[in-house]
């Protein structure tokens, strides 16, 4: 009976993995195919003649590398600011009793519920007027506002889990409120901070609608937007191999970040703080 369920679990697991990873594998395989091979009528799964030409070509493409720099810069700045603000806001929400606390929380949620597309028009007009169109801040600001609510909700849940006494103990030990926050509360909320940071980073890294609408040149265009310009000379025959390569390159940082932070997102870090 036990082996039966184990086998069943594995079959289901493999099916789901195939379903999810097959497109990824296809893109990966495409990125190693030559231009000619992608254009053939019935391509095979594995490249006949694996080549790195696509990679060298795309990394030589100044527009793409510029977009990569934009993507990194914008995503990292948006993440950092969003996490800092969210940490402070979430701490206040978790610890302090003030009027309108619920209002702040529900407003934050309401913002997150707006469809991004509905804001593109007004934002475009506003940014043109303010001179923020086609600049880094022009993307960083909306990315922050869309990710802050989620970050605040995640972090305030984490802060609520941390016993008040931790902080009181620190204060009795001679810490100022700020020291207690920085040396005790933030390290304890680290899993929450990293979770919020990763979610924010992914949003900013993958975002397309705002990136394409609020930029006009490679001065601030991010990779997802830039990729839509990879049309090649023949509109009926887009450079599939190059597109796939760009996709692989843009996915790599995401995978690396997840692997790096996976260790940091250790649940139960607070166990042992109070009686066990």
């Amino acid at each position: 009976m036990k082996t039966k369920t184990t086998i069943g679990t594995w079959i289901g697991f493999i099916l789901i993995m195939l379903w999810c990873l097959f497109p990824v594998a296809w893109i990966l395989s495409l990125s190693f195919k030559s231009e000619g091979e992608t254009a053939t009528g019935s391509p095979q799964f594995l490249p006949k003649d694996p080549t790195l030409d696509n990679y060298s070509a795309i990394l030589d493409n100044g527009d793409f590398t510029r977009a990569l720099v934009n993507s990194f810069g914008i995503a990292i700045i948006a993440t950092a600011l969003s996490v800092i603000f969210a940490t402070l806001a979430a701490y206040a929400i978790a610890r302090l009793e003030f009027k309108g606390k619920r209002l702040v929380l529900s407003l934050a949620l309401a913002i997150a519920m707006f469809p991004v597309v509905s804001l593109v028009g007004p934002l475009f007009d506003m940014w043109s007027t303010f001179g923020l169109f086609n600049t880094w801040p022009g993307l960083i600001i909306p990315y922050m506002s869309f990710t802050l609510p989620l970050a605040i909700w995640t972090l305030s849940a984490f802060f609520r889990e941390i016993p008040w006494e931790m902080e009181q103990a620190a204060q009795v030990d001679g810490a100022t409120s700020w020291q207690a926050f920085r040396k005790v509360i933030v390290p304890l909320a680290a899993p929450g901070v990293f979770t919020a940071a990763i979610l924010t980073f992914f949003f900013a890294w993958n975002e397309f609608v705002l990136a394409i609408s609020l930029t006009s040149t490679t001065a601030s265009r991010t990779v997802p937007a830039q990729m839509s310009f990879f049309v090649g000379p023949d509109p009926f025959n887009p450079p599939y191999a190059q597109l796939a390569t760009a996709s692989v390159i843009v996915t790599l940082p995401v995978i690396v970040i997840v692997l790096l932070f996976q260790r940091k997102i250790v649940a139960g870090l607070t166990s042992g703080a109070v009686k066990g």
């Binding site: 016993p163 931790m166 009181q168 204060q171 009795v172 030990d173 100022t176 166990s271 009686k275």
Partner: protein, 421 residues
Amino acid sequence: MAAIEMKNIVKQYGDGFPAVNDVSIDVEDGEFLILVGPSGCGKSTLLRMIVGLEDITDGDMVIGGKKVNDLAPRDRNLSMVFQNYALYPHLTVYENIAFPLRLAGKPDSEVDEKVRAASKTLELDEHLERKPGNLSGGQRQRVAMGRAIVRDAEAFLFDEPLSNLDAKLRGQMRTEISRLQKRLGITTVYVTHDQTEAMTLGDRVAVLKRGVLQQHATPRELYENPCNLFVAGFIGSPPMNFLPATVKGNQVELPFGTVTIPEDKAAKAQGKGLLIAGIRPDHFEDANVVDSDKVTDEATFKATVDVVEWLGNEAYAYIPFEAPPEVEKQLQQLERDLDGESLRTQLVVSLDGASRIAEGDEATIWVDARKIHLFDPATGENLTMDAEHAGIVPGGNAMAKAEEVGEQQDAVQPGSDQATT
């Protein structure tokens, strides 16, 4: 090190809940003071006001001759051990102990020296590099104490530090805390609801009820001269027996018979009608094992023993009795105040281990009549208290005042006496 003076301390919460009411306690330099009382009596609140985690509504908190009402906790230089230890889980034991020193910006060499000294005292040397999550309850407790002693604090504050340990460890840690405090000679305030800890650890004990100070005295004084029914019932284990009593001359009529009490005690209780007599279980004995010259008819009575619990060195015998309704109500109220719930009025008698009294026997019990206390059932006051040996008894009727405060508390938060500390 410093003395702590609490002058007319009042704590009223935002919703009007009167948690601590006009409490004045002086803790001398180097003294070990215990704050004790049933849950919800304001003892933890009082401690948190000393350390500065709770604002003081009214009154003065003076530490080392300096008024500290408006100082932040970090400026009071006190160290505290929390009930659940509040260790920093992301730091090693070493860094946990070093934390106050690091905050004070001490050089590494000094930090190391002091942490090593503290860890040696508490036998934590082999655990210094571990995280609190990997330690046992007793070890965590020691780390929390290490963090407290590593700093030259003015005073130690303990908030029920042993309540999360099992019974055996609790006994060991109790001795350890006592030894440490004696050695360091540092002023200590210790909150507990456990009367054994209160009796064994404290130089003096302050008994609180509903945020009102009842009596502030040495453990011996509390035990021998409780100022009212509440203190009498709270201190001592098993608790003092309360029996309806009528005094005629120097004769006290108890449900089981009449005993003769000393003249001076009898004089204080004349003409008061129905009283409550308080007799500790150890002031009874099986007449067969008492020296024959002590046993007289005036001091013995016959009663049928219901249950006997034999513990080897002693035995507890239970003898049920009927209490008149006017006393019974008072006794039940008292029982509730003490966090208990009695199903019947019964007498608990502590017998010598050599006693052969068995369940269902009609036993002859001797009572040490000199040790009987007589309480006024209306006010709860101890009429036979020896005021010279009763420590500090606040003026007015503390028990009645606590009753009054209790009604106010219930008006704000019904069932507040059940609140956890």
